[in-house]
């Protein structure tokens, strides 16, 4: 399959990149690893006039510890994030999530954490070749007025299938976006617009530079679970990430994020609140929390990623429960000390 033509812009510094980004505006796309973008371009879902490559911008790579948080350059490869001892220690759920992305030989070396976080939403009626989509009206996400996944829907119901986004939401991450106009750092939850047509609040002159993960406390633990037919290559059709902060063998704070349901990963606030103050060993409350998460997720799931909605939604309960169990066990391990 052939890529469409475009102009290739090659900044050598972040400043240059921001200038180019500002000038290109809506007609430009940032090229990091390209493993998602280039496929969409081959399918003619995206036809940017300009690609602004980040290949020279080493300053956007690296995992650093900065003032009680992990600051990860957006262009850090999945492999390097996974292998970072800090990520493994303080954000294990993220390491697990990124390890499960596709396959090592596809995304882990060229793919970046920023690219995975900013992965566009997906739908089997949309992520198809130009030919496949021809012969009928375009859908909402393709600039039209119809949804093929959910009949009668007046908005796009495409699904966020990013492993990284789900994990980062659970980890209460923040992201820094820079432009010529300045810099803003927002919670990752604010990055999602809840609009399938344009799912990310990244302005056309902005570049995501840093992903910041607070180091919750010494006895925090995170975990990630996902499910798909095969053990590699596939996007998750349901996934869950949890963060558990514990003290004296009790859950002080929990965060539960569920992905592959709806336009953005979902933060399960009610399910998480149920866990507050409960013992780490309490299996029953974890089960109840998982069931609440499943019920909430069911409102968002649409049959557009293969696998039945019924099954995917029931997997939310399984995945949340399993992630909670592992995170609680890990928190117990940490909390019990030497």
């Amino acid at each position: 399959m052939r890529l469409p033509r475009f102009d290739y812009l090659e900044p050598h510094t972040l400043e240059e990149a921001l200038e180019m980004r500002s000038e290109a505006g809506e007609k430009g796309e940032v090229l990091a690893g390209g493993t998602d973008l280039l496929v969409r371009m081959k399918q003619r879902l995206k036809k940017p006039s300009f690609l602004i490559t980040l290949k020279h911008l080493r300053e956007l790579e690296g995992v650093k510890m900065e003032e009680g948080e992990l600051a990860i350059g957006a262009k850090t490869s999945l492999r390097d994030v996974i292998r970072s001892p800090w990520v493994q220690r303080y954000a294990n759920g993220l390491a697990e999530a990124l390890s499960s992305v596709g396959a090592y030989t596809i995304q882990h070396v060229r793919g970046t954490i920023g690219g995975n976080l900013c992965q566009d939403t997906r739908c089997l009626y949309y992520n198809q070749s130009a030919f496949w989509r021809s012969g009928r009206a375009p859908c909402h996400k393709a600039g039209g007025k119809i949804c093929y996944a959910r009949e009668g829907s007046d908005r796009c119901r495409s699904t966020n299938q990013s492993d990284g986004a789900t994990a980062l939401l659970a980890l209460d991450a923040r992201v820094t976006l820079r432009s010529l106009r300045g810099e803003r750092t927002i919670p990752v939850s604010d990055l999602f617009t809840m609009k399938g047509e344009a799912p990310l609040d990244i302005r056309s002159d902005e570049i995501l530079t840093t992903i910041r993960i607070p180091i919750a406390s010494q006895s925090a633990a995170s975990a990630y679970e996902r499910i798909s037919y095969r053990s590699a290559i596939d996007f998750p059709v349901a996934c869950a990430a949890v963060l558990i902060e514990a003290e004296d063998k009790t859950i002080r704070r929990a965060r539960i994020a569920v992905g592959a349901m709806g336009n953005a990963p979902l933060l399960m606030i009610q399910a998480a609140e149920l866990l507050q103050g409960k013992p780490l060993e309490d299996e029953g409350v974890r089960k109840r929390a998982a069931r609440i998460a499943m019920d909430h997720a069911s409102a968002f799931a649409v049959n557009n990623v293969g696998a039945t909605v019924e099954w995917r939604v029931s997997m939310v309960e399984v995945l949340v429960r399993r992630a909670l169990r592992r995170a609680c066990e890990a928190a117990r391990g940490i909390g019990e000390g030497p």
Binding site: M1, R2, R5, L124, Y125, Q128, S129, F131, W132, S134, G135, R136, Y148, I227, Y229, R230, S231, A232, I233, D234, G306, A307, T308, E310, W311, S314, M315, V318
Partner: protein, 764 residues
Amino acid sequence: MPEYSYIGKRMPRIDSLAKVTGAAKYTADLKFPRMLVGKVLRSPLPHARILNIDASRALRLPGVKAVVTGKDTYGEKWGVFRYTQDQMFLPLDKVRYFGEEVAAVAATDEDTALEALELIKVDYEELPAVFDPMEAIAPGAPLIHDDFPQNINIHVHIEVGDVEGGFAKSYLVREDTFTAAEESYFQGEPYAVVARFDLDGNLEIWMPNAGPHMKAKPLSNALRIPLHKVHVRKIAIGGAFGGRSEISPADFICALLARKTGRPVKIVYTREENTVCTRQGHSMIATIKTGVDKTGRVLARDVTCYMDGGAYSSTGPIATSVPFLCMEQAYKMDSVRYNGYRIYTNKPIRGMIRVHGRAFACGVDTQLDMIAEELGMDPVEIRLVNAREAGEYTPTRSYVASCAMKETILKAAEKARWKEKWGKLPKWRGIGIGCNSVQTGFPMGIRGGSQAIIKFNEDGGATVISGVVDNGQGNDNMLVQIAAEELGLRPEDIQLVTADTEVTPLDPGAYSQVSTFIGGQAVRLAAQDARKKLFQIAARALEAHPDDLVARDRMIFVKGVPHKGLPIQKVIRMGLSQGISVAGEGSYWPKVDPKREWVQNPYGQMCEAFSFGTTIAEVEVDPETGKVKVLEVVAAQDVGFALNPLVLEGQFQGAVAMGGQGGMLTEYHFWDGGRVMNPTQLEYKVPLAIDMPKIHTIIVESVDPKGPYGAKEAGMSIAMSAAQAYSAAICNAIGVYLKDYPLTPEKILKAIREKEEAGEKTHQ
């Protein structure tokens, strides 16, 4: 058992070196001076009349050298059989599936060709379409082909014995319906064609194929050029699995563009085109009624199959018959009735595929398991009671000369430790068995045989000329092994000129599992012929009788006196100095019933040999997710004789992956009307290395009297029985008999939950 130098040995394949160095050329790798890029314009509608095609703007685009449409053809319909001629390669009247060819361009580069496609304007009148086979045969359904009422493409009817009487005498009768979605081949290599004409009007054409001679004849007809001017060339081929047998519209279109432009043209399919616009497997609804006696022996069986054939016939009569044939070969049954319906729908075209009819095969075996349960037998026992034996006739009257079905069952069961495990595995673990049989060849009339020629070089090397094609299964190596063995040369002394219709004689092709049995046999006979002639010459020089001579390791000598021999090279030169240029000729035509026909007369000797396979799988199901972890698989096949165990193991393992791991767990197509929603490997889940189980392969040899060294087909019986074994093991693991394939986690979990709820209800 004679001691062979190469036959029966674990020999690395001769074609591996080119493949591991990247030197092997596949069709898309070919590059010729001034070659043009061809692209096909396809219908975006599943059913529509073509009102007008305006290519004028495309033709004006700089770099575009030709555009072809139906108007550039002779307007004839092609079919594999005379009574299935329903397809124009570039239609004039209407399109019948989303993705059908409508026009094509040849341009100087790919970007220009793609741009040109967008400039071709086609006016369609959309017609109502039908996508479900049962809707397609219902009254009022849109008619897809005028000559085929009710959209019934093929009806195969077979009736043997006294079916109703058999049911009447049965101790137990069951009727169950099994369904399966369609699956696809997903060969590694996407389809591609390169074509060029020379100034004398000779066509050279390269494409992945399962029988170059089967491609040449229809090309000659469609292009109206004499057959001897159509040269389908040898090329490395990235898999076929049953999907590359007949001529493809792309072959014809590429040749047409090459002829029109006077330049070589290359068309390379995208992965999506390979999935949608070549062939797929049939989806199927199989209703199976079986009656058994108290011992579990089948007395009568009645099967009705509805198969979704897609928009055109392809190998319809064969595809409709094969699932039945595999069953009637594998199991005894005196009375059987079969009604197979292949139905047109506005979907991509379906063809023959390595796992032929999941619903049928898994249905028959699952039903045997259900019957066994009712009778208090175990699945292995009931298989043994019904297993085919040598010396019997199939219901449609094929004599089975060699058969080690029972041995495959017993050996597989022993290796899998069936007795220890059956009924004794922990909860959520299951073990299951599947048995099947595959024919070695189809009746193919004047093209049913193979001929081979062997010529020598004066330095003692030999060239084997044969029409046998290698799709990746190792046929080239098989020919070299046989020729080296029979000629007394070493494999490195043998050159192959194969699968080139300008030079090589007729061969039936690889898709009916016949390359070893017929093609290999022809080479063996040719080598024996050449050897006989060499012995005549050597006998005089050695003052011996030709019958006392042996050829081995480049020497000819009297049996038992190896040190007093002559190098073959010398014997050849001696012959030449006597005015004798030694060459060998051999041909093999199987003795099949020439009156047997798929639809008109489906009785009589179908082929000379049948392979038999048994697979046993052990699985573990995760009751929370429905996902299946396959622990261990044992695959045992009666291959007649193992020419190369190393190659056979690879075939068995690949067959387990395709038939079981993919075919039963994850592979199926799902649809949005006429659009296949998973046309690429991202969403069509072929198995990966990380999910493969442990596989034990067992080769069983019944030494067929007709096969070369006793060899028959290898690999396909395992693909089919693996699907059955996986299915049976999963059913055993969850205690529910599932009947809709593949067995995805959703279906498995649903069955587990329904069973739990039913259990709770009975306890209330």
